[in-house]
Every structure is written in structure tokens, then in C-alpha cells.
Symmetry: C2
Subunit: 406 residues, 2 copies
Amino acid sequence: MDLGQRSETVRRANLSAIVRTLHEEGPQSRSDLVTRTGLTRSAIRVLVGELKAAGLATEDRAVRHGRPGRPSPEVSLVAGAAVAVAFSIGVDTLAAAVVGMGGTLLGLSRTDRPRGHKVASAVVDDLVSLLDHLPSGRPEPETVVAVGVAVAGLVRSRDGLVENAPNLGWTSVPLGALLAARLGWSIPVVVRNESDLGVLAEHRRGAAVGIDDVLYVHGEVGVGGGVLVDGRPMAGAAGYAGEIGHVPVDANGLLCRCGAIGCWETQIGAGAILARAGLPRDAGPEALDDVFAAAEAGDVVAQAAIETTGRTLGSGLGGLVNTFNPRMVVLGGIFGRLHPHAQQAIWEELERHTLPAPRAMVRVVPAKLGVDAPLLGAAEVALESVLADPATRFGHRARVAQLASA
Amino acid sequence: MDLGQRSETVRRANLSAIVRTLHEEGPQSRSDLVTRTGLTRSAIRVLVGELKAAGLATEDRAVRHGRPGRPSPEVSLVAGAAVAVAFSIGVDTLAAAVVGMGGTLLGLSRTDRPRGHKVASAVVDDLVSLLDHLPSGRPEPETVVAVGVAVAGLVRSRDGLVENAPNLGWTSVPLGALLAARLGWSIPVVVRNESDLGVLAEHRRGAAVGIDDVLYVHGEVGVGGGVLVDGRPMAGAAGYAGEIGHVPVDANGLLCRCGAIGCWETQIGAGAILARAGLPRDAGPEALDDVFAAAEAGDVVAQAAIETTGRTLGSGLGGLVNTFNPRMVVLGGIFGRLHPHAQQAIWEELERHTLPAPRAMVRVVPAKLGVDAPLLGAAEVALESVLADPATRFGHRARVAQLASA
DNA sequence: CAAGTTTTGTGTTCCTTCCGCTCAAACTAC
DNA sequence: GTAGTTTGAGCGGAAGGAACACAAAACTTG
């Protein structure tokens, strides 16, 4: 139920509008904030003053822009005042990052993850030790607002339970709780599927900035999807939404590792490309690199493998365009690499399987953030609490100072 | 951009919370409203008073419920104070209804629509003349808040342009504008796809009350879908979302009337059932009635036709459950009739094509509102403006009275 | 049946928050 | 340098809900 509102709700919403605007669009003048939010100069002045006092924002001398009138000082968020720690558990890599308000990347470190299964606690240890390898060093625990985690698998968003992650060999792993315990910080740990986070990152910082209806399709060994509906990530009832790799597309098709017959994934995943190139389906990522290299060098078998995969990708995307009516389809993972080689094949099949109206308004583009998208998306969801209610951080510095003096 | 908020925003939100609660949950006591909204008794008193003064609500003597304490009067919406006019243009019927606040059906009339094409202006005339056949008579124009229209076709929600409606033979018909001109009322005319409205109606008044993640699948000649994501209808970038009938499921399948190969619709639409029963694909609705009757009478061909269709429906639903992670799948149109005959077949195939986690939390149920769902959904969207800002109606009676006296 | 208990309506005062207005400051243009 | 424009600063006012005190209307108990 929508709770009733009061004056304090208004202030929270207005502070949030300011911080969110600065976070998403970057530093801007007070008078820009006036036009963006519709608030009066008086209100903006007071609210920005409050943010400054709390150390969340700074005001710099205005940039001269040659127009008449008194210049308006530029307001920026203080990146380090509130930061998110983000982790990602991908098929081939583990990564950690610290991201400040405004989306400033304060540090990132990455390590290979050998394929094969490893118990969750060991992976959690690996993740946390990545924090010590950050160029910026371990972040100050007091500045960390929340922890975001991107996982290649089905995640129950409520409590961060990894229901199933075939690439990791995990079933019912309480990753959120494990990580929270290991870190020992009393802040929320938010675990999400990597594609759901990928679409958020591409929306905020990548190929889909300013576009509110986006379908993000991520391919590796498996195929996942993240959907932005009217600017909001589509989670489904428990967070499992977006498993478009397991849509049946061929009743007489191959057996998928999920146990079903004819999943789309069996036709467009990394294994499908490898098989079409005459390689074993489970050859590693290097083998896939070789296929792309061979195609560029003119190898017709490799080229055909890529084009056929592009066609199958395109027809499936067609169905999804009819289903979601997105304004943009963002191809991530191996599909982003496939795109330049198979752009025409993808679009031809997409065209063949879409209704004219949704087709006319959709664009298919490769992801801009590459492998970092899920990690950056994890940071974005972790920062969400500050964006939604910046005032929660107000007492913070005072509280820390008080503890130090006591 | 989220506009800045102020005191008036708070009042609007709180009035809206009260009216919406009463609309969705029915009449309840003031003290219920206190707990529902989290507002204080003082605030509820003033706000309900305002609604009463405006004629939107009434207070009745409290019902005795046997608990100690002073009884709290029951607040009800005045159904006739603000009404929606709803129209639906289905494959086989035209309908009109007047629905008051609280979802009270004040009048409904329906007429057959012979299959075949008819120019839009003629259909608009037919719809408007249905208003004269309402048992309640034509609604008072001053009380009508908005007009909602459900159409079996692709609708651009922004302006009510019917992009394409194969059953009606329409392409690029500005239905919203035509109807607005024909009615001559200066109120919004909201046109939407029938499935998008169907899911809304089932959510508010039907099988999916209280469930925020719902997939509604409607079958007739064509197959459409409406999706509720976190309580909100998924419209897509232009309103075309939900065309799940045109997801490709068989690369070697039949030619769909949309021009593509192997659309799901070709396997589960009314034509597919008829064909499997040995009848022509374009036999009318009576032929389909015969198939269902024959199956009930023990005809094995008819039974097999229904079961096979159920299996194909189930496997496609499996992919959609993986895609949307809904808590409920509601089957409307012919699928609602199919359900009792093919429940097991549907579920078996759905089970075979879903991941365990989303499968474990989904239920498949027949629609509760039947053919009326889109019409009632159209009324709900039309009433939305009053729910979102009841104060817009405040000056209304005064204004009408003033006009009358002048 | 009368006194006590509980819950809720009524009305006043107070607090929070933003708007509107006036004046001053900082810039451009001629 | 003077006029024009845009914006910051600060103050008073208005709107709206919360908190509080009190009254009213039910039930409970002996």
C-alpha cells in the first residue's frame, strides 16, 4: 500500500530528485537544477546547502558560458562521500569495484575464474580478497552504503539466494548472507542476476542512456536477458525474470543443460557457435576467440557459423521485440562481439519475425560497457538507497566523529 | 524527470491513496483507512470530509462488529459521481459499459459483430449507439471522466491510433480521435489493446486480485498477451508490447497471417484447434463451440485436438514463465475454455519447459471475467485519472451548478 | 445498570517545507 | 559606465499533516 505522505516525504523526494539528477546527468548548475526539478531557487538553495553541509555535494565557481546574468555555481556530488562496493561472479572472471556517487569508478580489480566448480565460501573469500588488490586500497567501511553482487545465475532478489548457477555448480547458495557475514559490515548486500544488472548499467552509463524500454541480451555459455520496462528493471515475482535463454524454439531440438528440449540457448550459446565451427561445444573461451579470428581472416566455415548463429539470434530477438516492444536491443557478451560480423543476418531475421509497428521503432546495438556492465550495474543498485533517500547519510559523518571522540 | 514536490503534491497523493483504497478494496471504515494509509485520524477526517463535500464519497453509520470502542463510520465512494464509459471492439462482439467509482457496473450492452471488415467510422457509430441501449440510459456527460476502449489489435497508446487490427481489417486508424470527435465530449479517450486491459481487469476484479506479477494470455482467432509487472501493465515503448502470439516457435512451421513463419499463434489460435479437429481453419465461433461440445461428448478427434493444443500452449507458456517469472498465468478467451479440458496437458508441457525456481511459484488459472475482461479493464484505465488526482473533480459540481444558474 | 476500558471522532496548536517576493550581486551588451 | 538579465540571499506566508487533549460511543465487568 502507498503510505500516506507528509512534509518530510516531500523533502526526501526533493533531495532525492536533486541527488538523482546529479548522479545520472552529472554536475550542473543550481539553475539547471531549478529547471530540472521544477522547484524554486529558494528551495534548491536550502536543499543544496543541506547536501553540502552533509558532505555529499560541493559547489564550485560557475563556469562562464557567455550569457548575461549572474552565473550559477556548479553543484557536484562528492564521489567518495558515499560509495558502493560491487562484485561480479561471471563465467570466466571474478571482479570487484568501488564506485562513488555520480558513477565515479574509484577502483576495480579483476581475476580469472577457472571454469569448474568451487564451493561458495571459497568464491566469497576470493571476492573479498580482491578488495585488497584495488589500486585505491580497501574502501573505508564507513563510506560504504551497500554491496552489490552480479551473478551468472538465478537469484532470488529478496534475500540474495542463488537458486541455481549452472556455470558455478551452485544450487540454493545463500550468497547474500555468506558475503554479508564474511564482510562483517552492517549494510545491505544486494545480489542480482548479471543480465538484470547489465541492462541497468547500459541504461545509466552505456548504450541505452535516456532510453526507458530496453531489452539486453547477454550471451556466454548460457544466454540471459535483462529487461527495462518504463525505466525500471523487470524482476518478476522473485527476481527470476529474464531467463530468455530457456524459451523453447524448436520442439525437435537439442537437449539443454536445463533439462528441456529445444531451448534458444542451445542454438545461440557459445557452444552452438563452436559446434557450427566444427569444435567441441565445451571448448573454452579461447576457442571462441579463435573462431572470431578465423572469421576475420576469411575462414568460410567460421563465417558461416557466425552468420547462422546471427540468424537464429535474430529470429528469437524478433519474438522478443514483439513481446516487449523495446526501443533498443542491446547485445552483450559474445553477442556484442557477434554483432559487427552478423549485423545484417541478425536484422534480416529480426525483420522477418516482427510486426511492422514494433519493428519500426527498435534499434539493435552492441553493448557499450562490455564485460563491466554487470559489475557497474551492481554498483548502481547498491547506490540506490542513497539516491532514494540521501538524508539517511546526513547524520553519518557526525556519528562517526562522535564515535571517534568517545 | 521527477518533478519537485510540495504541499499540494502531498494532499493529492493522500487523497489519491484514500480513493484508490476504496476503489480497489471496497468500502471501509475511517479507522481502516488510517491503518491502510498510515495517516493520522486528523488527516483522514479532513480528507474524507473534502471528498464528501465534493460528492465523491459518503459516510454511513458504522456496522457493529462487536469490538469495544467507538464505532468508525464506513466510507464509500459514490459510484455515480464519476463514471467511465468503456467500449470494446472484439473479434465477435462490440460492447459498451458505464462503470462508476469502486468498479460498480452501472450499465452494459453488447451486440454481435459479424466477422468481416467494416470502416472505422461505421464501427464508431455502432459503439456510440450502444450507449442508447444501456439499461441505465445514456450517462450524464458531466459525470463521465474519460472513455476507455479495448481493441483486438496493435494500439499506439499515446494517441489511440490503431496501428493494425487484422480481425477488423484496420491499418493506421485514428480510433481515439474518431471516437472523441463523434462523442463530442471534451474528455480523454484512452485506447488500448484488449489483452493489456484484460490483465488489468483480472488484477483489479478477477482471478489475479492481490497478485502483482501476472501473465494474461488471451486466445481467439489471434493470440495476445497482457503482462503485469510489479502491479503495472507493461506497455512497451509505444504500447505494442505483449504480442506473444507472434513469437516464432517453429522455423519450419506455418505461414502466419502476420507474414512470418512459425508464429505461436498458428499452433494455438482458434484456427489450429479447428484444423486439428478436421475443420477449416476459418470456420466461425460456432464451429469451435461444436468442437468443445464434441470433446465433452467423448469424440476422440476433438479431444485430441484440444489436448494437442493444450500441449503446445503449455510449452509456449513455459518459455513465457521463464521470461516473466509471473506468480500467475491467467488464461482468457478460448484458452479459458480449453483449460478445464486440457489442464494436465498444459501443465505437463509447462513443467517440461520451465526452470524449477520460476515453475515452483506459478499457478495457471482460467480467467474469471471471461469476455468482459477487456471492457472492464477499459473502464479501469479510464477511471485512473480520478484515482490519481481526485481533486480534479472537486470544482465540478460547483461548476455545473454555476453553468445551470447562469 | 453503573463504572471502567477501549477505540475513535473533533478541534486546536505546532512543525515542516516550499513558494513568493524583494533586494543585492554578477555577468553581458552597447 | 549604464542598462538589462539572470541568479543568489533572506524573509514572511501559506499549505498540510502530526501531536495532543478532550468528548463520544461502543463493549466489559461486577
